[in-house]
């Protein structure tokens, strides 16, 4: 009896196990939006959703980079500090050195990608846990922020402020910020890279089984270095977007953002053990996190710390889900 029932079920879950968490997250998102719309006046509008993206565009970019790393089975704790360093570096170059923004941007992106690549190289060449290497990177980047300045540097540069105030108008009186457009472009690029390039498929292979990937002749070392470089690049770009959002550089920006990024990836269905997940899921995860904030601000009486509590609860649920659906893979 049990075999007739479980066999098709197992076959189903084997085929769709990877996509199931994505569907769960999408359902959750719809449910949250519906509940919000029923509860609060003015909630049911497309602009509310777009505002979520406006307020979290930088997080989306950072979380996409984190997703690359987690897909290989690694982790990158340095991204929050990297974001802060990028805001600091941008403000310092533009405000205190009078560099035009167009010249500062490539420098910041290079520093991010280079820092990431360096960590990836250390992880690969010395076979050190990514956790510890990126923890060192986290302290290092945060410390470098204070080297530049212990105070917040506000930005008055006209180009930067113009971009920050620009609104990209959409039909129906809706609008988004340029940061949202950039984040969505990054999302599309990440999707194409992960699913339609050899590099992307190697990322998945690496997360599936690293020693197999090596024996299959895949460029394991190069891929690892590149994945951390992508993560560094994304956090630098996220930092630039945050600079536009905040119009300042500050060493205490984005404290703990690495954890938000990891949470978004996990809620979006990426397995922490690697090899399974989608960047689109990460986008859903970021939206879920943003929507929680929105609901709590609409509610009005709850303290903003409730956001953290809800995220904590959600993470627990999703990690348990991962365990239940991912468990079948290790059974042999």
């Amino acid at each position: 009896m049990s075999t007739t029932l479980t066999k098709p079920l197992q076959r189903f879950s084997a085929r769709h196990a990877a996509r199931l968490p994505l569907m769960v997250t999408a359902t959750l998102l719809v449910a949250m939006f519906s509940v919000g719309s029923l509860q609060y006046e003015g909630f049911f509008s497309a602009q509310v959703l777009l505002n979520v993206l406006i307020d979290n565009g930088f997080l989306l970019v950072v979380a996409i980079g984190t997703t690359f790393v987690i897909l290989t089975g690694g982790i990158d704790l340095s991204v929050g500090s990297m974001v802060a360093l990028s805001t600091m570096l941008t403000a310092w170059l533009v405000e205190q050195n009078g560099l035009p923004l167009a010249a500062a941007v490539p420098v910041v992106l290079l520093v991010g990608a280079g820092g990431g690549a360096l960590m990836g190289w250390v992880i690969h060449a010395f076979e050190i846990q990514p956790f510890i290497v990126t923890l060192a990177g986290m302290f290092l980047a945060r410390g470098l922020c204070y080297m530049i300045s212990t105070e917040s540097i506000s930005i008055t540069d006209p180009t930067t402020t113009t971009i920050a105030q620009t609104r990209v108008l959409l039909p129906g009186g809706l609008f988004v910020s340029p940061a949202v457009v950039i984040a969505l472009v990054v999302l599309a690029l990440a999707f194409v890279v992960l699913h339609h390039t050899r590099f992307g498929r190697t990322v998945y292979a690496l997360g599936g089984n690293e020693s197999s990937a090596r024996l299959m002749g895949l460029p394991v070392g190069r891929t690892k270095v590149m994945v951390y470089a992508v993560s560094g690049l994304c956090s630098a770009l996220g930092g630039l977007l945050l600079t536009f959002y905040m119009l300042s550089g500050y060493a205490l920006h984005a404290v703990g953002m690495e954890l938000d990024a990891i949470a978004a990836a996990v809620i979006g269905g990426t397995l922490l053990t690697g090899g399974s997940g989608f960047v689109l899921g990460t986008a859903l995860g970021v939206t879920v996190l943003g929507l929680i904030q929105t609901i709590i601000s609409f509610q009005g009486t709850l303290s903003s710390w409730w956001t953290r509590i809800v995220i904590g609860g959600l993470l627990f649920v999703f990690i348990l889900l991962q365990r239940l659906f991912g468990g079948s893979r290790t059974e042999h």
Binding site: A14, T197, R201, R329
Partner: protein, 520 residues
């Protein structure tokens, strides 16, 4: 392809596609290979035989670029090569399929075959071409698989075939199969052999490593025999019989076949007195999802065999008796008194020992030496506050290395540098040292050679004669029959029968019980 199979070449003609000469490789404390030669010709299946520790695995690793040789040359198509990593060997046309499937379970079958060399269009992976190419390769090799499904949805045997398809697609001139059959059942082995023969007929040179003698005679054209890291000889298979081949492998020091015959007599000795209280008695012991309720009595000096297919619940049943898993039903009595084994620690306190099937993951610590591994359980039983003196440790290690003939006889060699069979012996030594009253052996002879196998079987018989109760789990029915007083048969996570091993019990009867689940 409907062309008639090419007749086997009686003598190799032409130039070898792969040739190794005078290969030497040493690890700390172990000289693994000492001047070994090997020649592989296109279109032959060549067996590499030898006991555990003879150097088979090391030779393969040298040929495939995992370890560079200390001395000697490897020539591919007449050009001397020195591979720094597996990828270089692959580019030179040498592909390897290992005992453990080395693929990515999260990717589809098609991707596993082609990952790293996916067909591309405009720089992007051309998915439909990839699926077409994979399906075409699968069909060419006369297999039938849905290439879009994830690899993890397929059985281990199918995964092994996929690994071969991948290996062959790298335009392999040489395919190395390292014990590919050790976890496959009979039909799956037949499927694999059919594939190997098709590849041979296409001119691929295949190096086949196995412990199953009948498979060598079934499949191979020539054989190279290693002994103690040296080349014993290269033979055409029709020059040999199974008996002469075994003699070549073990040398003249041990007359293995006589030993085997001897143990088979003692195996059918009378069952010990069953009137006394059993050492261990399980009633309705069960764990949801892993083993249905079962009853089992094990007396002192009795060997109980557990037979059943892979995944039938043999290991799961044994793990309950060791406290490695929690029983959620039934009761367990030891010496007639109720005992709850909440952890392996509790089981060890009751003098129960468990040699796991998965010796690498669950038993031995590769970085420690033979001596340290042997004294581990004894030290744990004494408690860490009463350390064993170094002199005592040395004495213990020396004694067990001699008793079990662990090779090399070097107490300070790291365990990970030992061969599979010798690692198994180290694990056995560790548990025997604690003087167990019940010894649970889970597949102690899997993947080890015939000489070591005989020694382990002999040891089991001797221990039982000295009063130790033994629970012996093995996939080899002949072995179970030879050693056991009674045989428990498992099927679909249920103990379906416990059969006394009298003259009427044959492998066919056990197979019958496995197949039908009948109790008689």
């Amino acid at each position: 392809m409907t062309a008639p199979p090419t007749p086997r070449t009686p003598t190799p003609a032409g130039r070898p596609v792969l040739e190794a000469r005078g290969v030497r490789k040493a690890f700390p404390g172990v000289l693994a290979l000492d001047g070994v030669d090997l020649r592989l010709f296109p279109g032959e299946v060549h067996a590499l035989m030898g006991e555990n520790g003879a150097g088979k695995s090391t030779l393969i690793k040298v040929l495939t670029g995992v370890h560079p040789p200390d001395a000697g040359t490897v020539t591919v198509d007449g050009t001397p090569r020195r591979f720094a990593e597996p990828l270089e060997a692959q580019h030179a046309g040498i592909s390897t399929v290992y005992q453990e499937v080395n693929l990515c379970p999260n990717l589809s079958v098609a991707e596993n075959i082609l990952v790293g060399r996916e067909p591309r269009r405009f720089g992007l992976v051309h998915w439909s071409a990839l699926h077409r190419r994979a399906a075409q390769l699968i069909t060419e090799l006369e297999l039938d698989l849905d290439v879009r499904r994830p690899l993890s949805a397929h059985s281990l045997a199918v995964q092994q075939l996929v690994a071969i398809v991948r290996a062959v697609d790298v335009r392999a001139k040489v395919l190395v199969l390292d014990e590919p059959t050790s976890s496959l059942d009979r039909d799956e082995v037949a499927q694999l052999f059919a594939l190997v023969r098709r590849l041979r007929d296409r001119g691929v040179a295949i190096l086949f490593v196995t412990h199953f003698l009948d498979q060598v005679f079934d499949l191979c054209d020539r054989v190279t025999v290693l002994r103690n890291g040296r080349l014993e000889g290269e033979y055409r298979i029709d020059e040999l019989t199974p008996v002469t081949l075994v003699h070549r492998m073990v040398g003249s020091e041990l007359n293995t076949l006589d030993e085997l015959a001897e143990t088979s007599h003692t195996g059918t000795a009378a069952t010990p007195e069953s009137a006394e209280t059993p050492f261990l008695s399980a009633r309705g012991l069960a764990r949801t999802g892993s083993i249905q309720p079962y009853d089992l009595d094990i007396h002192r000096g009795e060997v109980i065999g557990l037979a059943g297919l892979l995944g039938s619940g043999r290991t799961e049943a044994a793990r309950l008796l060791f406290g490695a898993d929690h029983a959620d039903g039934g009761e367990l009595r030891i010496h007639g008194e109720r005992a709850a084994l909440r952890s392996p620690r509790a089981a060890i306190a009751h003098k129960i020992a468990f040699c796991s099937e998965n010796r690498k993951a669950e038993g031995l610590i590769g970085e420690l030496t033979v001596r340290e591994n042997i004294v581990l359980a004894l030290q744990a039983a004494r408690g860490w506050t009463r350390p064993l003196s170094r002199a005592r440790q040395d004495e213990i290690a020396a004694r067990w290395i001699e008793t079990l003939d662990i090779r090399p006889a070097a107490p300070e060699a790291q365990v990970r540098n030992l061969s599979g069979g010798n690692q198994q012996k180290v694990l056995l030594a560790r548990w025997l040292l604690t003087d167990p009253e019940l010894l649970i052996l889970d597949e102690p002879t899997r993947g080890i050679d015939i000489g070591a196998k005989t020694e382990i079987q002999r040891l089991v018989t001797r221990l039982a004669a000295e009063g130790t109760a033994v629970l012996f789990i093995s996939a080899e029915l002949e072995e179970v029959l030879r050693l056991s007083h009674r045989v428990g048969v498992l099927r679909d996570h249920r103990l379906v029968a416990t059969l006394p091993n009298d003259t009427t019990l044959t492998p066919d009867r056990i197979l019958g019980a496995i197949a039908t689940g009948a109790t008689s």
